[in-house]
Symmetry: C2
Subunit: 457 residues, 2 copies
Amino acid sequence: MIYHAEYAWLGAGTGAGTGVGAGVGDEVAPDVLIETTGDRFTRVVPGVPAPPDAVRLPGLTLPGMADAHSHAFHRALRGRVQAGRGTFWTWREQMYAVAARLDPDSYHAFAKAVYAEMALAGISCVGEFHYLHHGPDGTPYGDPNAMGEALIEAAREAGIRITLLDTCYLTGGIGKDLEGPQHRFGDGTAAAWADRVSALRPAGPAHALIGAAIHSVRAVPREQIQAVAAWAERHAAPLHVHLSEQPAENLACQEAYGRTPTELLADGGALGARTVAVHATHLRDTDIELLGGTRTGVCMCPTTERDLADGIGPARDLVAAGSPMSLGSDQHAVIDLFEEARAVELDERLRTRHRGHWTAGELLAAATTDGHAALGWPEAGRIEPGAHADLVTVGLDSVRLAGSTPGHLAESVVFAASAADVRHVVVSGREVVRDGHHRLVDDVPAALFAAITAVTQ
Amino acid sequence: MIYHAEYAWLGAGTGAGTGVGAGVGDEVAPDVLIETTGDRFTRVVPGVPAPPDAVRLPGLTLPGMADAHSHAFHRALRGRVQAGRGTFWTWREQMYAVAARLDPDSYHAFAKAVYAEMALAGISCVGEFHYLHHGPDGTPYGDPNAMGEALIEAAREAGIRITLLDTCYLTGGIGKDLEGPQHRFGDGTAAAWADRVSALRPAGPAHALIGAAIHSVRAVPREQIQAVAAWAERHAAPLHVHLSEQPAENLACQEAYGRTPTELLADGGALGARTVAVHATHLRDTDIELLGGTRTGVCMCPTTERDLADGIGPARDLVAAGSPMSLGSDQHAVIDLFEEARAVELDERLRTRHRGHWTAGELLAAATTDGHAALGWPEAGRIEPGAHADLVTVGLDSVRLAGSTPGHLAESVVFAASAADVRHVVVSGREVVRDGHHRLVDDVPAALFAAITAVTQ
């Protein structure tokens, strides 16, 4: 295929493994000819006129975006968990109620709708942090990976790639048994978790990767952390972990082990360049040094961190210390990586009372190049020959972006665009969204409605 | 006209002068018959089938929203002021550059486009905090109110109501002369300001009110505050003032006068139920008591306060103390009162680390009823007989709102809707937006583009 982008952001596509902190540019190139063969880019030439057979992409074209932290089933909570004054307990009660209702069929339909919403928002790859493994009472399904396979198939049908971060979740807190709906999450031991995950093989075309996750130091005891990390090491797989989202976790970890959660993960060999710490909100300076020094990635989920009153994590300090940054919509209060990207900067402004922590290019790199790398797809999230042919075109003709100038398009899109401005999406060479309509899922709102109704009524 | 709303939020319409803190409900009524005559509602009946001649409004219908704090010309800065690392100085330099370029004709075209964007976002009334009074060197135009009149006309042509908050701006800081572009802002003395404003009479139909504003205690010396307050008192007009947006203002005020800005305003008789303090970010407890005790309103502008790194104001404490709350998009980094409304709650969560400070109904009341009251339109912002016939219908058929249930529609819209979801807007009985298209300004993005280009190139 031959595409011709009116403007394209190639900032992260000019070198390998830039890393967010490396001063990625905000530059946007006009008139970019983009050729694809199969699922890859084969030629990218800025500043040339459109050949007659090219598909025109009016607006600003970006690489595909990666939603590096997703709990698909939380999409059912949008709006509902703000009822009344919407306390944390409102949220948790409803989250567990939904978790208890899902089975492989309903989760397949549910995730397909959510991933289709992601595609419409310009997301070409999702990192699904998956722990709804077993039946409601904890009994494994006939196929013990039925739930994970349902998610992989859902992504395929929604037209996006997935890294299934199969999550080890063993305890309901440090030293506490699983309770109620948590029984679904548990494999008993990390070894049993590893056996199950090792049997999981993505079927069909290569749209899926299997990664590992440690739910948190609350849910995986110290002596089991190493086994999960070893599995990820052995499979050269991404390893994600919820880290220090709430001060209560830090406190419990200190009391039980005399270590911070970051230190505990380091002890278990769980930090490193394939690991991503999600949230990383309440850290000591020494934690930041440990994460940055080991090149452990960080995934910020600012709309969730706002929603759950977690606080504002030290994203800038982490990146300065050496951690690449990715972004996640997590509980999907909204699915809009532009909102996540700008929130990283805006919340840092609230925290520090100064502007100017990140360039638009750095934030776009987090949403694209570094996000894909965090999910084990280093050859995606950049518009350059050899990379996965993902394209996301943002229309500049809405009232939100009207008046943007070529010199500031990256800034305009990061700071003012909405997921509603995404017009055209190509994932691994396949056109998934055209003119704002999903080509594989005919009516995404109806699919969401049906899926949510099925698990909430 | 007869409308039939699939759902309508009537929460703030069931009593007079509720005030945000009074526990306004989140309830949404189905099948609401709404009749208008001229510019007013004449009949509102929930729970009845649609008569055949009714205009159907599928989705959730809200009262008109009030954008209680606007600097229309800042719309030119969207995106641009994030260039590079986007420091405060990037912002201020560009803001003054745009301020220097406008004249009555270009400002009319500019504001018309911005107000049309507001209409598309469901805003039926704007509070324009206006201080671009004179020619670039400070010489008054032949008609010294030419700029204000241009704004009033712009609102009329864009189909929304306006409260022109004509702003007294005399000094470039406490004890400092005006400098450079600031010369446009100055009237010399509050008495000269009052003479000019007294000559300002809205022409044409009753879509405009004249209010007063004290730019800030930085720009209006102590001895001149009283004259502005007296003018507002004499005309029973709204009086707005930027208050304690930055700690530097508090410090300068203490050093010069030995008073907080709030105390200085109280000394000048500038607080009270017709006054609105904008931002009110950095306050002492005694300031909060003074504001609440005098029923002085507060206008929160959270997307601006994020953008300018101002910090998070004590909105909840202010309302608890007695201040009604309104919302403003201020510099228009985005024009989306849903985003402003949820940001009040979400930023309070970041500040306190707890959820659940505001109900969706309280936040909607701030955007509608209390916003209009803050602009001197107490008979607007509520769907009830006698009130201005303003209707804003939010479509529930986007991926953002799909899966919302009737029991949680107010929450879903406040926490997940975007201005892009506004489908239908009626202002004072006139249909201004239908199916997302502005009926009076044919191509709003093109109008924005032309207006912004004219003052930035």
